[in-house]
Symmetry: C2
Subunit: 713 residues, 2 copies
């Protein structure tokens, strides 16, 4: 039996303590404090900067305890996660000091305690870090994103971010019941065993995915399942979940089991090494194999969907994950900079068949392996592994984000990463582990529609790339006009300038001067003055839509050597003015979301178009493909045509023939000289019923026609 508590909090500021104010648990104390101070919505204007002044504060939570244990019961105060360094006091006496937000803390109660106080210390700030940035976090196991990122404002949150309650436990309380299974090589048999931690015998009942009892037994029983229903990711089959109930006289606990085998195997073609000497190594394998089948992983980088990590609940997760599933995604890379989610996230992904790449909370820093850091990391990583290893959805672990790049300076020798490899081996040996992303063969970036160094748009850039997996790539879009009006004060709204709210909301100076608004790129493609906010937003979203389509489909065309396409990023933690996400905070899909959804259909007609913008008189060409990453064979009759200035020009009909399951098929290339008409865009249309696709491309009329038009205007 669990009893929730009623919490208040206060700030211990340099000038003294604040009054006690109501505190939401789970939640973040900064949010409660902001409400108490009347600081308003942090997404609006520059409100979020008000929280800078709280960075050195110590915080206290308090709650009255009034929970005398019944006969034979023990009362335990449980904190499922407190962010980040804290003490627990019972009636003024410190009973626990702890560092780490992912490990659970339990405090036994005598029953006569009257008050619990949780004192949260200021955030770890590495003293000699040069800036107010993520480097300050490189000796703590806390998501560095809150220290500021190019899409996340600085906002050092903390607090009782997970459930906290008093639990009454009898002697026969089941402290742990965990299922482990083996699958035969041909998947025709499964054997499930349970490990329990309980002072009494635990009876266990196993149910099939339809809820029918299969067998009953206990922790010594080997539950044999013939022809088990396997757990498949979305698009490849049903995410079948067996369930169990474990019981003692006074306690019951439940769990779900997805039976599947997952491996990282060598990408097809990955063993083909350059001829000649000196000879290096082959690329690192990054092809997911699920139940013996190579699966193309298509999805998005999951980042914290709220600055306030404590207030995210199952309903929010469910809405966001449902959108991903609707968009034909089958994987989230849960980016390390944002930490690890609450349990509900993984439960939902188990149920919806979304594979999860779990990253430990390291990102873009050199986490030097001091004794203190390694000790906290070991405790926290072990806690994460114990929490996650029962989830079918978790298909791999990763040490952290971009750690082997020159902005991080970690290497294969870094003790933190060697420790994580060891812990994963010790606690969850059969789940793949990689030290970071990217590893050899993989690619991150680009992040804009046009790369000024390479002088290539994303169409061209990705067609000249050859990666085993694209696990970050992005095209920015400006946020919808309603939300822009909400977050940017009227007097800053237009013309857009690099200052104030636009800058704070990442339109400028986020990563280089021009991102994420990228006015320089917009102006490259604009064929009339960008003299209204609507024009800016429309053009930006056009580029985001077509850019994402180009990359996702190109990655799919590069299968099977390429095995993953995971864009940067899925959601956002507050309303940005512009950015790479597919969904505006909190749950509003951008136009690009729908474009990606179309590009990720299991079967679709697709065109490899060499570039985005075309000139009158130029020969347009595009290679036709039938993409198929469904587990069934597919075929189509694809009619290619071009729609220009209101006229449809038929080009070609291609009978694809049969594309085998999880296999693409290449078709002919269409060629067509673009006539000189008065238009600014044209559309390549591939008509193929449910598999149809359209590409809306940039068209530049001739100079002569442009001048004529200007005269007419």
């Amino acid at each position: 039996m669990k009893y929730t508590l009623t919490w208040q909090a206060r700030a211990i500021r340099p000038d003294g303590e604040s009054a006690w104010f109501p505190a939401q648990v789970p939640g973040n104390v900064q949010r409660d404090y902001g409400a108490y101070m009347g600081w308003g919505d942090i997404s609006v204007g520059e409100n979020v900067t008000l929280f800078r002044q709280t960075e050195g504060y110590t915080w206290e939570y308090r709650a009255a305890l009034d929970c005398a244990a019944g006969n034979g019961e023990n009362a335990v105060l449980v904190f499922e996660g407190v962010d980040y360094r804290f003490d627990v006091l019972l009636d003024g006496m410190t009973v626990c000091e702890h560092e780490g937000m992912f490990s659970r803390v339990e405090v036994p109660l005598c029953g006569d305690e009257r008050e619990v106080v949780v004192r949260i210390h200021p955030h770890p700030i590495r003293e000699d870090a040069p800036f107010e940035d993520r480097q300050q976090a490189d000796q703590c196991v806390k998501p560095p994103v809150c220290y500021e990122w190019d899409w996340h404002p600085r906002m050092l949150v903390s607090g009782i971010w997970q459930e906290a309650y008093v639990e009454m436990r009898h002697e026969d309380y089941i402290r742990r019941c965990e299922a482990f299974y083996t699958l035969s090589e041909d998947f025709s048999r499964a054997e499930i065993r349970f490990e329990t931690d309980c002072s009494a015998p635990v009876s266990i009942t196993l149910f099939d995915p339809d809820g029918n009892v299969i067998a009953a037994g206990d922790s010594r029983t080997v539950f044999k399942v013939e022809n088990p229903r396997l757990w498949w990711c979305h698009g490849q089959g049903e995410p079948a979940l067996y369930t169990y109930v474990a019981r003692t006289a006074h306690h019951e606990t439940r769990g779900q089991i997805g039976l599947r085998r997952v491996r990282l195997i060598m990408n097809e073609g990955g063993w083909v090494e350059p001829i000649g000497f000196p000879k290096g190594r082959s690329v690192a394998p990054i092809q997911l194999e699920l139940n013996g089948r190579r699966v193309f992983a298509k999805g998005s980088n999951w980042v914290n969907p709220d600055i306030y990590n404590g207030v995210i609940d199952a309903a929010r997760y469910e809405a966001l994950i449902t959108l991903a599933k609707d968009a034909n995604m089958n994987i989230f890379r849960c980016w390390g900079g944002s930490g690890v989610n609450k349990k509900a996230f993984y439960d939902l992904c188990d149920r919806m068949g979304i594979m999860v790449w779990v990253e430990f909370p390291l990102s873009c820093n050199n986490y030097v392996g001091t004794e203190h850091y390694l000790a906290v990391l070991e405790q926290e990583a072990a806690a994460i592994l114990h929490d996650l290893r029962s989830h079918a959805c978790v298909v791999m672990y990763c040490g952290g984000n971009e750690l082997f790049n020159n902005w991080s300076l970690m290497t294969d020798q870094s003790l933190a990463l060697r420790l994580l490899n060891k812990l994963c081996y010790d606690l969850d040996r059969d789940r793949p582990f990689i030290m970071t992303s990217p590893i050899f063969g993989m690619g991150h970036g680009g992040y804009t529609f046009y790369d000024p160094d390479a002088k290539k748009d994303v169409f061209t850039l990705f067609q000249s790339s050859h990666c085993t997996a694209y696990t970050e790539f992005g095209v920015p879009g400006v946020t919808n006009i309603e939300d822009i009006r909400r977050i940017i004060p009227d007097d800053e709204l237009f013309p857009i300038r690099d200052m104030g709210s636009w800058r704070l909301h990442h339109a400028f100076g986020a990563w280089g001067a021009a991102r994420w608004l990228c006015m320089d790129v917009l102006e490259m493609y604009a064929q009339e003055p960008l003299d209204t906010l609507k024009k800016v937003i429309d053009l930006s979203n056009w580029l985001q839509c077509e850019g994402y389509k180009a990359i996702f489909e190109e990655a799919r065309r590069q299968a099977p050597y390429c095995s993953m396409a995971i864009n940067w990023c899925y959601c956002e933690p507050w309303i940005t003015a512009a950015g790479n996400s597919l969904i505006t905070y909190p749950i509003k899909p951008k136009p690009a979301y729908y474009a990606v959804k179309a590009s990720l259909r299991p079967v679709l007609a697709s065109a490899r178009i060499p570039k985005f913008d075309w000139h009158a008189g130029e020969c347009f060409h595009a290679e036709l493909w039938l993409l198929n990453d469904s587990p069934e064979a597919a075929k189509a009759r694809i009619m290619a045509s071009i729609l220009l200035d209101g006229v449809e020009y038929p080009l070609l009909a291609w009978e694809s023939g049969e594309a085998a399951a999880n296999t693409n098929r290449i078709g002919p290339t269409v060629n067509w000289i673009l006539p000189d008409v008065d238009a600014a865009e044209f559309t390549l249309r591939l008509e193929a019923g449910a598999y149809s696709s359209e590409y809306r491309l940039c068209y530049r009329r001739s100079e002569a026609r442009r001048e004529t038009r200007q005269m007419n205007v």
Copy 2:
């Protein structure tokens, strides 16, 4: 007190048991059996093939026990290593079954036993391996080299290969005394602690490298050393060794401690990543840093110096290691295919300042992580780590040889390699670990003077390479005429043909049809018919000398990005007819040994010569360098000249200016039109006193002159 035993052995053959024959311990039972059978020297002719018939045999060793323990003593039968799967029987009763040659086995004795028998089972042969080759060994932790390699005949050795004895132990026997130390960041202080395993208190006395007592204490003492004398590798300083004696009333043990800090850090320039997206990872660090100093690792691949691993003794090790030190080497890569050496090897390397790269016994196979294999590997690797971690000379561990290449098919996901990473982390955390060689950035090969695919000689090939480390490269040479006459029967000697003893001794068909004699390459450079054995040998050794010089010096010129030059290979396990080694079995340096010795001098004048063979009328050019990997600054006046057809043509004098410690200096390029004279070679001479160098190059006279000469002849 240790008592050695007198051993006999016998073969249990399909047709019954052989008689008992004398057996050498440590040794190999096949060697004893060969002597008993009168099979002769295995280096001669095709004698070694006689041993094929013994492959399925079981072997038994026996020895009489006659060692009643004294008062308060316990008798223990100790096997420091038995190769590979064996049982121990006392008076007919099996008391131990064991798999693994690197872990020690101890059998307590009552004192009344009369006989010990060690029964050695046939070699592990994976049943479904396709050939009689190393794949048969991919589920055992045995050096795969004995299953056959391209320089090693198939010869499945086994036996009691390490010391075996009865030891009398009092209760206060010191089972373990191990030193651990920390060094302050600036190396000004060391703290040494001892861990002991003994039922009585152990007193410990610490001595400085000159043998003076520093302090006495016990296992609770922290021995502080101010301004410790650090252990340096050869060429960088003194390999200072502190020593200690640990004592109880009845037992005493000694050890040596080299105080140093070793790391693998990023190669200079290694963080410079290609511009543009998608972006991969930086190369893996392979720069050895010793006591805060980047050290260029120069040396050779150590392979088993005898087919009979059991008979190698400290004297053999010492002779070979002394030669390496004399050749200015500072590192051995102990190649995983040959397994791990006996303790004397590491003691000697500690004393002589030779760094050792230790490889676990995995090579060129896919060691699939079955439960059985992982269990044996864990036991054996842990034994190796416990044995080696006290050695200053051991600077890094490596999972095995060329495992990430398409002839091995292991990856970063292979459980065996993840296990080795874990064990190294658990047991010896501060010593670097890499999963295999090569890893990203490094290079293996080439192995011939001329690469027919690349159409480049090694001069050209390595100048167009850009690796962080060259950890295998080779140029073959034919063995000296005396040894050739010894191993090749007279009737096969000349002309050299691809058959019989030449083939068995790796002149043909070792790796492709032509290696290692490489007659095709010799004929490319021969300017007169190769009509005597001496001409073949002379030309081959000329190429080996100049080829090795070219590569070693090029690798040094590529420092600091390049951090290692380690040739394939140092020694050989029997007399090959031709091969890449620098030393002919057992301890006879080839001409190439002396060439390499010259190229590895700490300071030398060096020339980057674009290719080996030159034509009359061509413009010869060479870039001048002063190479310096000594810890002191150096400078030189280098006089470059060419010696052609008996005439010396002075080219240039270059005042190098000062090359800082461990830093090279580039000079001018000399250019010179080669006159047309009657010669087949010329020499570039860099006269610089002790730093002088010479390069003997191929010269081709004009066709006109060639014809003139032929008429004169």
